[in-house]
Subunit: 203 residues, 2 copies
Amino acid sequence: MLLYHDTRAPNPRRVRVFLAEKAVAYDTIEVSIAASAHLTAEFRKKNPIALLPVLELADGKVLRESMAICRYIEELHPEPNLFGADAWERAQVEMWNRHAELELLFPIAQVFRNTHAFWVGRIKQSAEFGTIMREHLGERLDWIERELGNRPFFAGDRFTIADITAMCALDFGKVSDIRIKAETHPNLAAWHQRVSGRPSSKA
Amino acid sequence: MLLYHDTRAPNPRRVRVFLAEKAVAYDTIEVSIAASAHLTAEFRKKNPIALLPVLELADGKVLRESMAICRYIEELHPEPNLFGADAWERAQVEMWNRHAELELLFPIAQVFRNTHAFWVGRIKQSAEFGTIMREHLGERLDWIERELGNRPFFAGDRFTIADITAMCALDFGKVSDIRIKAETHPNLAAWHQRVSGRPSSKA
């Protein structure tokens, strides 16, 4: 298996952490967004919309989208289970993984895209929308803080894909000066320490 | 089963079309976003972040997020299969469902939220970002048009959840004057006619 990724982007990291939890071996090709390598005709043969990550299988088949890749790997390597062990747990994990993606990763990515100097001259930015998303994210973090008062991990008693998504989202926030503050968000800070202590977090 | 929904919102419709394809019976409670019924303390007991749809089971358990709900229903009612029949098809369906969601539904929803009079005074809008998303969507529709030259449905030879997401997204675009033009996007128009001809599209 070959993973096309950028070591600094949050979506490829979701896949790398997932693969580390599964202890699956794979090769990588760095596609540097900073160097616009994702925009080349060559990479667009792998992904016409120029997004990372992309997984290429030994037979040349290509799979895009971080969660499609992780789900496929879960089917090939079921243990340790990271998407839920029965129908109801799978539903809960999917719900919390989507919350982590849509309520945390999405606004964090929009703050970055719309306000960071990295994207100046690369995409059309709206600082106005970036400000709206930063404020929106603040409300969502307050909600997650309350939720994590009830359980150690996003989807329940154990580590799942939802924690991977949330960790990659929040770590990526740092580049936009979005940080978990232990004084105001102690549950979130304790959760972050818990997931960051896993060897997979270094992937 | 009880579905909290708004008949005009795209995410609840994804679940209704899915349930119609499965021929599963359920009850509904209308939670009118126009009347701000989703913002009440009562509804926030079902969903603290005030989003629709929400599924309530007979035992009172609650499930949020359209795709968590659809996946759960797929497990309870496997036929007709809408998420893929083997590991590779499931990966393809997930990839295309995410493309339909992230590349079509997401920009369409952002155009609506940021530019439509419906949201004035309800949320902070950025017309600037709405314009950026409208242009971005145009590029994505051109890409999908090329893709649908190769196959009749989003994820391959048969109707899946990816078609449901894409249909709900594009139909919802009309309120923001986003329309499929048969002259420039004949494959997309033919696909739309194909999926709209299914009885489930009326759900």
